[in-house]
Subunit: 340 residues, 4 copies
């Protein structure tokens, strides 16, 4: 069987991650082409190293390439929905980085197009493939913890993004918490029914001036009657803090951060362990491989993708509800119908 | 200097704890008398073992005893406020178990009486004296974690109290979370400005039928602009789960549960550690000693008590606000003025 | 039943520990008298605080006191054996600090005297009563770890004793490792059959000049066919390191050091835990209470003491064999017969 | 620059590991050929999957292939030395699995041939490239722990090899401890000067009947004056136990086992963590990649290999000395001269 040919749209950092993973870890697929209107020298470097044969400024060249079966969309967020629609209409299966869009209506429209095309769409919620969170999900699914009562997500970045990025990010909930909303949905197997959010500007006043927050607690009721809460910070000086706990009638399961090595130093100033792996590229390295492998195996075996368009939509709906709660000081129900 | 003579009002479990601690660990104080209208055989046993000379059914006998300088109030909650007032009016210093009362007005009235009496009142928020939480407080106070951004309190009981107790407890927030509200205040050194609460009945439907909840998440804004959240459960099968984290601009500090011993077994079924110390008597054994020692040292040196009546009041106000938020689905401001 | 009256011989630091523990934690016993020819002001202080009625320079006054049922020998090592003999001949039960003597023949002679007197002798191997090591012993005894294959003892002091002490200490094996030899015997329930020792001077050349070592590894064959090893250092800058592991056919059990609190700080320089409790008084505080309680309960119930004279003897024999191995470079069998 | 062409000699499990790692993780090298006289179906499978162009029964075909620059020797132990000599004489650089031979004289002869050929030889002590042990080495090298005083190596297999393998393995010290001897040398940066060994048969009597041991403690003096000890077992029911500690004048550094994930379950039976990664293929997966990458980068940059022939020789000499100590009951000096 010939390898599955892939097109990568966008040539930024995450495009490199996916291209490299396909090249090194997925023997039954190959990156045939890459499209980006503004190729950096750095991108030229890794494209050459990975021997990617086709390089173009226009992603439509990839959509028109009959050898290419699937595209991986790593372009700017505001192009995700449109390119997804074009891609499935061109007969390609799609792996799209999150979020599909910031506007639920635009996502819905896209999901309809995907549906009528009969093509597959997987959304890049890579954390579902992390070994730690997968262990939590398994503990819920196999009922090792019994009935689920509560979920905690601790999610803190090592440092805030540039203020320019903050301004166009859609805000903390849409940019950062969206991963955590998806994690609540993944771990629980339930939908988020209602949210209540508090936010604060504690890290950098410039973030507040840009109309955003940098510190947040979001609590939730889930559709199965259990509770959940997420806490976020844009800056933990000790690094990327990504932990969770599921708690139920038969016990709790909690994850710790991954570390570069297990060595612990005992010295005059204390007992000192290594800080967590620096940021998402390091922490979720294995998860990025696993999500792409899962996507491509679905293509190979023609089965359902593990993270569908609905996952892209529903986390955006939760983020929007959280934003409304933050503004109104009220608990807000998440509407999965046509609210606009 | 002669030992300080103490009267203990009530002869239940917590009365035994305080009596034993004074006898064994505080050389400059003695329990002279104990008052309880319904002495159990068990109580008679430990009263004898501890050689407590005076035993009476009427606590007024202790208030009238001129040798007795201070009383420790361990009677039922609905008598706390009244006996506190009578005791200070009789010239005694008072250590009162929490809560002082469920009704803020009744507490306020009591605090005024205490104030005009010139006597001392310490409220039994023993957890402030726990070695783990004290370390967190120190990290905030010394600014080891920099500016405070967030506090997390995880507080789960090993099993719910009898349903009869639940019915008269004032509800989860007033009975259980009240300790956690005080912990947020203690760790932050700030007041709770606003609360938002979600509750659920996940442990036992009978608790729901009694009009209470057994599972809760309460999020908070503090007066210094930081955020906090508490999560509670009436039943953690692995035991008493009492942990907290403070997070700030220079880092985080987090506590683990205390365990009976550090031994870890590695066997075919996994790497197994001991469960936490069973319940509050075991976990806070050292803290109960320390709070009583602190109280009695304040008497000896005529200094301010470390946990005053205001601490008893303000945690009740936070609990009331949480209950209102639970009912209304709105974020509720905690009113420290005369709200009723 | 009247409390058991105790005499304490010696008024140094360990005498204070035992006196205080009897006073505060053992309601069925009392310290009636204390004997020391050279009382320090510090000793006078705690003797007064504890209300010890009889103070004498001559321990024979305590042996002649008919009210006193048992003595606790805390005098210098070279008086232990002689006073033990005198005490049992005077009809007293004896708790003797370790070692009973440095000379096995002197110990044997003492044990014979104890035996013919019909009195009890407990030796102060307090670590057997430590919560962590007790958990290991239980795992061996209940066969949770199956057949025992190996024991590891890690035992490091926070800093070496004064060089004058080193010179008269009997050497590292007799002074420090002796506790660890006893621990191997306690954990295994077997005797030490053969030892092989390596030593080094790494901490302080003055220790080498005094004819001693400060760093050692001692490996052992036990009478049940399993292996054991002890490693010692006179100086661990991070504090008192007291850990052990038992390993067998069904798994391993390992202990960690006790810490003042569980709080962990995550900051820019790493994830930092508290150092172990400083030294033996802090680490074994609970064990000192438990060993004395065990001794006094044996007196009360007229049962066998948990740590007998043979335990005092056999650890000295192991220490002597280790010293011989260090000198000869050969594995040395431990002779439990009359080797001298 | 064209990729470095590699020949793999032997097609067993470890040959697959190296082939796969070169294919997926080292872009500047390619496996051109593989040689094995008895190819299994499993081997045919992965050879095909990895698209290895040349497959032959005779390794000499690879030695004669002018495109092939280096060979990786994964054949049976008793062929390592001979093929290494033939390969360097044919102008190939060599990566040879450990041990080079069981006979020091045969290794010496091989090292001389390597030396006169001017080719490179790296020995497969993969654990030097493990992230945990590398952190320990760094702590010694940078003097974070100050002067080195002691090293501990805990090394236990999940289960013993088949008894047939045991019989031809050269014994526990030569087969298993050899890795640990190398680790002592690596961590300390010193040579092993003197060894003393105890062994026992605790796991399986059949191992004893085959003339070998399954449980061992080996203590050592190092050339820098510090001490070290290794403990081994052929069977730890909880899995592959690979830990070490370095201890010195400024502190200690200790590693824990790697685990599949960090999730910890708290349930009624205790607090349960995952067991260590199963065996060497899982635990040292990253180390196998890193050692091969290091070897091939040395080829690319014409620099010294990080693990040379002397490392292969000296660990065998330590193993021989340990065996002699086990037999004689004496401490044995390790002779690095021409002892035979």
């Amino acid at each position: 069987m010939d390898p599955i040919q892939i097109g990568i749209i966008g040539a930024g950092r995450i495009a490199y991650v996916h291209s490299r993973n396909i090249a090194s870890a997925i023997p039954f697929a190959e990156v045939k082409g890459i499209a980006d209107p503004f190729l950096t020298d750095y991108a030229r470097g890794w494209i050459k190293e990975l021997n990617i044969p086709v390089v173009t400024e226009d992603y439509r060249d990839l959509l028109n390439d009959q050898d290419i079966r699937a595209v991986v969309i790593c372009s700017p967020t505001d192009t995700h929905a449109r390119i997804t629609r074009e891609a499935v209409q061109a007969g390609k299966d799609v792996f799209c980085e999150k979020p599909v869009d910031l506007d639920p209506q635009e996502i819905r429209r896209t999901l309809e197009t995907v549906k009528s095309s009969g093509r597959k769409l997987q959304v890049g919620f890579n954390r579902r493939f992390d070994h730690n969170f997968a262990a939590l999900r398994k503990a819920v699914e196999t009922r090792q913890i019994g009935d689920l009562h509560m979920i905690r997500i601790t999610s803190r970045d090592p440092s805030p993004p540039p203020i320019e990025y903050v301004k166009s990010s859609g805000g903390l909930f849409m940019d950062m918490t969206i991963h955590d909303f998806d994690m609540v949905r993944f771990l629980s197997g339930s939908e988020i029914a209602e949210v209540s959010a508090y936010g604060a500007v504690r890290v950098d006043p410039a973030i507040g001036e840009a109309g955003d927050i940098d510190t947040a607690v979001v609590s939730m009721k889930l559709s199965d009657g259990s509770l959940a809460y997420i806490e976020n910070s844009r800056k933990a000086v000790y690094g990327y803090d990504q932990r969770a706990e599921v708690f139920g009638s038969l016990g709790a399961m909690e994850t710790a951060n991954d570390v570069p090595h297990t060595a612990v130093f005992s010295g005059e100033t204390g007992i000192i362990q290594e800080k967590p792996l620096y940021f998402f590229l390091e922490r979720y390295e294995q998860a990025f491989v696993a999500e792409m492998k899962a996507f491509l195996e679905c293509l190979r075996s023609n089965t359902e993708v593990p993270v569908g368009g609905i996952d892209g939509l529903n986390s955006v709906l939760a983020a929007k509800a959280a934003l409304e709660s933050l503004k109104t000081g009220k608990s807000v129900q998440v509407s999965y119908g046509q609210e606009e």
